[in-house]
Symmetry: C2
């Protein structure tokens, strides 16, 4: 317990953030109070605004400021006809930073998991089917996580895509750059070998 109840409240509220335990919460609270009150107040306002106003884009279910998100509004992306299906909004940002994809996205917000109450409806697969049916999409890229649940979800979506005669692909699995072969798990290595590519 500190000298101020408000300070104690702040320290405990800060721990809602992932990776922030009691020690870093205390450090953050004192830093804001000691030197950064104005920036801290700005952060509080920004947080309030973001958490109140950010909603799901009706088109791709990614986060948007209201209505269609900026990626779906981009005409070049929309007319590319390529749709990349990912599990989370963070995955969209990860693919965006790779700088290799110029189509639109669809965000599932999870993977099929009947035990957790996550069925096709919860993942927005009805919205996805509408997009497949709209005729705007020619190719779908499955970019769910390379896990059992991710693969099962990808298989379900693949069946949907086949019904609409779409070109379908799945992002490559294999050894990641910069690692050592002996630190890669055997399943990844097995995939890398069975899915080897011709090399000139």
């Amino acid at each position: 317990m500190s000298s101020s109840v408000l300070l104690d409240n702040l320290i405990s509220a800060l721990q809602v953030m992932p990776g922030v335990g009691p020690r870093s919460a205390t450090r953050i609270a004192y830093a804001l109070l000691d030197r950064r009150r104005a920036e801290g107040l700005q952060l509080a306002t920004t947080m309030q605004e973001a958490l109140t106003r950010i909603e799901l884009c009706p088109c791709c279910r990614n986060y948007s400021d209201g209505g269609k998100c900026s990626l779906c509004q981009n005409v070049k992306r929309r007319t590319s006809g390529v749709l990349c299906i990912v599990e989370t909004p963070a995955d969209v940002q990860a693919i965006e930073s790779s700088g290799t994809f110029f189509g639109t996205y669809f965000v599932l917000h999870g993977h099929l998991s009947p035990l957790d109450g996550l069925g096709p409806q919860e993942l927005g697969l009805d919205v996805l089917e509408q997009r497949f049916a709209s005729g705007e999409i020619t190719e779908a890229i499955l970019a769910t996580n390379p896990t059992v649940e991710g693969d099962a979800t990808a298989a379900y979506i693949a069946a949907m895509a086949h019904r609409h005669q779409l070109v379908l692909s799945k992002i490559a699995s294999g050894v990641p750059f910069g690692g050592n072969l002996d630190s890669v798990d055997e399943h990844t290595l097995a995939t890398a070998i069975t899915q080897r590519r011709p090399f000139a």
Copy 2:
């Protein structure tokens, strides 16, 4: 850049917190949006309230909810006559968690540093002198950081305390528990040897 300007703003505002860089800010923003909107809004409100309402206790200059802080209001502590002088509010909390001090504190919010514009006035030494003069204090414990600046500040306060005929002490310097002697710097080790204590 993500799909939402509000989200980008949140990610950049979160980086005002020490130890939070672009990657953890992104992780925190998505965690709050994905699963913890209500807790995040609560955090924003708590932060706003704390940063607006927390002020300095007129008595010890520690953080308080307004007026005297809870430590200064404690009669047992106030009548103990022992005052511990520290550099920051975080130091108070550190000493409190050690569970060995039951007097009151005085927080300098820094150390004497003329080049940074931190003189006796900025450290509240006029308030401290009033407390020395009040007759309530019988012993002062110097607990500034064991650095050149901390020691200089302690020396300045010691001269003040002498003028008021207070019992004066300084917290012990030496090897910390749980470490190895060979990982302790030579200055600390020299202090530990010259200030060795009789051992029965």
